[in-house]
Subunit: 162 residues, 2 copies
């Protein structure tokens, strides 16, 4: 077997985040349904749409490197989503629910920020310039979503919960 | 049973990150041992020391709110650490190992950045001003560690891996 290289790391991580995005796509509608405030609900719905575009970008990158678009179980996102589900159950019907939901969503965003940051940096190193552009677009979206969640939480959800 | 509030969310998340920090404390020496470059090795060792201080800060906060310092299983960190272990095994002895290790460490940092950011914001809302200061100290350390990992990866590990 040939020694594993940065190309393998790039592909493994691409599969990891592809799996993660699909899990997130399944989870966001549940979070939107659970959310109490109209703004948070709309935020999750909008991010679900954005996530569909992010999945398409990943599929374009798989195509660029001549590999089938396939996910690989991502234990990290499963753990993060599991914790979000616990909050949905334990805080159901309380004034603290939205603060908990926003916090769960930010844990998801930060996982994505870490992975897309790494993928972008590896794509640069590998000279995959078109992939760099796509990865950066998604990275900027995730950073913006995280900021928006902080604003929503601080302006509303945390105050309501206190 | 009384309805759960922001105080409960704060305590639950404090327990979550306390458990996570203890897992990270166990994992960092393994990552330091595995790392190929002296700089990355030193970075992990230094971050292990820093993490000990972060655990102490969490214990101070438990004391401030009059609760015993106890962790609560954090599925997210278990998943993130598990993925890091996979990389250590699959890329052992390759030139790509350090790039993979740095990337795993950044996933850990981003989980912490998300949680400490939330805890700080909730502590502000709850008027726990001394806790805000401690949480912000740790948050700034995690952000600095993440930046340092990006620099190390881009200056060395990714180049070596390519």
């Amino acid at each position: 077997m040939a020694e594993k290289t940065l190309n393998d790391l790039f592909l493994d991580t691409l599969k990891d985040i592809y799996y993660a995005e699909k899990q997130i796509l399944k989870t966001l509608p549940k979070m939107a349904k659970a959310a109490g405030s109209a703004e948070l609900k709309a935020g999750f719905e909008q991010h679900a749409e954005e996530t569909e575009g992010q999945v398409e970008r990943l599929e374009q990158i798989f195509e660029m490197i001549g590999k089938p678009a396939r996910g690989k179980t991502c234990e990290a996102i499963l753990g993060i989503v599991e914790e979000g589900k616990e909050i949905m159950t334990e805080y159901k019907g309380t004034d603290a629910l939205d603060a908990g939901l926003a916090s769960s969503a930010q844990a998801v965003e930060h996982y994505e920020i870490a992975r897309y940051g790494t993928l972008k940096s590896w794509a640069q190193q590998l000279g995959l310039n078109d992939a760099v552009k796509l990865l950066d677009q998604t990275l900027q979206e995730e950073i913006a979503t995280d900021k928006k969640l902080t604003q929503l939480a601080e302006a509303q959800a945390n105050k309501k919960a206190a």
